[in-house]
């Protein structure tokens, strides 16, 4: 693989990291709730969702921090850092929003 292609894929990974975390979080909280409610174990849903949300939010926050540091470190790849940080930031908001329902809504009907 050419060097330029390698850079393409590593940039893709950095940019995609935040949204991937958000997607994994959404998939997991949805899956856990669906299975817990279908199997009459609604009690486990809320604590798991809280744990997953905290973990995913920390992860997204870490990515934002790392990319901002990288952007400050030098001009090379600033654009990638900007996209990676901004997308991770937006993902962080989306993760926190997705976790918010546990405060208000009981797990299963």
């Amino acid at each position: 693989m050419a060097e330029t292609d390698r850079r393409f894929f590593s940039g893709l990974l950095r940019i995609g990291a935040g949204p991937a975390l958000w997607a994994a979080h959404l998939g997991l909280v949805y899956g856990v709730t669906a299975v817990a409610c279908a199997r009459g174990a609604g009690g486990v849903a809320a604590p798991t969702v809280v744990g997953l949300t905290l973990a995913a939010a920390l992860g997204a926050g870490w990515i934002v921090g790392r990319e901002l540091r990288r952007a400050r470190a030098g001009p090379a790849g600033t654009r990638t850092s900007f996209f990676a940080a901004a997308l991770a930031g937006l993902s962080l908001v989306a993760i926190l929003w997705a976790g918010l329902p546990v405060v208000f809504v009981s797990a299963c009907p």
Binding site: W97, L100, V103, F104
Partner: protein, 332 residues
């Protein structure tokens, strides 16, 4: 002068919109706390959306008219980020939290236990309604209408016999789908006396448009009387025409599909007709229950409601038809 006309129009508009958003099937014409909560959420969102829309359009207009030589506002990235990113996140966070609190308030441990349960099955294209006793057994079966005691929490178990339908009484609650293989439970609490129209909200083929029902909330004593009457078998006909109608009904095989408790007719394919005369409508909200409409329905239901499953009975004519319709109408 123009301004005056505009002001008058602006004053009249909300009233017109308010009037428009009412009626027997409007979610904004709330008959329960739940529907009222959603109506408030709706009006707040309409107002906020209206303000935001006007603001965005005003900004766009101002931007388009700003002369290029003047010092320009709003051309920096920071402005875009503030207006397009920060502002929406703040607004949406607040809205989301409010919406979630309404979502969470509908059920859960805090609500009182249900007074009783009703099973409603969607069938192409009518509603089979079964009132259940405390042990879950069927008390009686009716069709296309529900009656509820005011202020009591009732749980409605929604199922489907064929395709997906959706049970929706906008005046009382949001809709909930009826899906084969699933039992969805919808709590209903009518806040005041009244009658609301409901309608199937999920496209279910053929006569989906003609699949309505009514929900009536009654004071507790009236409701108890209605329950007792519904649980009783059909009354004996008290005149010759009624007796003739009943005999025709039984002799013509109507009982293969319809049940009339207290007679040998015990079919379960179509609606239970034990108290059909007391229901507000026939054909699932299609026509008022009257002798004439009943007769027209019997002769050619497909003409009134295309693709309906009941076959036409042109054999009934004249006196026979009148007698049959009269007997059904008397079943209150």
């Amino acid at each position: 002068m123009r301004r005056h006309t505009f002001t008058r129009f602006a004053e009249a508009l909300p009233a017109a919109v308010l009037a428009a958003c009412s009626g027997p099937q409007s979610p904004l014409d709330a008959g329960s706390d739940e529907a009222a909560g959603i109506a408030i959420l709706s009006w707040v969102m309409f107002a906020a959306a209206g303000l935001i829309l006007v603001a965005v359009l005003a900004l766009a207009a101002a931007a388009a008219r700003a002369p290029a030589e003047q010092p320009r506002w709003a051309t920096r990235e920071g402005w875009v980020v503030a207006a397009g990113l920060v502002f929406p996140i703040v607004m949406l966070s607040a809205l989301l939290a409010w919406g979630l609190s309404i979502t969470g308030g509908g059920g859960g441990a805090s609500s009182p236990p249900a007074a009783f349960r009703i099973a409603v099955a969607g069938e192409q294209w009518w509603w089979r309604v079964t009132y259940l006793g405390p042990d879950g057994s069927a008390l009686f079966s009716t069709a296309n209408e529900l009656r509820l005691p005011i202020g009591q929490r009732v749980e409605v178990d929604l199922t489907s016999a064929d395709v997906i339908h959706s049970f929706w009484v906008p005046g009382l609650a949001g809709k909930l789908d009826m899906i084969p293989g699933h039992v969805n439970t919808l709590p209903l609490v009518a806040g005041r006396a009244g009658t609301w129209r409901g309608q199937c909200a999920e496209y279910c083929g053929g006569a989906h448009a003609l699949m309505a029902f009514t929900v009536t909330a009654l004071p507790a004593p009236d409701f108890e009387r209605w329950m007792a009457a519904q649980a009783a078998p059909a009354a004996e006909p008290d005149n010759a025409e009624g007796r003739r109608g009943r005999a025709l009904f039984l002799a013509s095989g109507c009982g293969a599909c319809h049940a009339v408790r207290g007679t040998p007719a015990s079919g379960t394919i179509g609606p239970d007709l034990t108290h059909v005369g007391g229901r507000p409508t026939i054909g699932a909200g299609l026509l008022p229950t009257q002798r004439g409409t009943l007769a027209a329905w019997i002769v050619d239901p497909g003409h009134l409601k295309p693709e309906v499953r009941m076959p036409p009975f042109p054999v009934f004519r004249g006196e026979d038809l009148r007698a049959l319709a009269a007997w059904l109408e008397s079943l209150r």
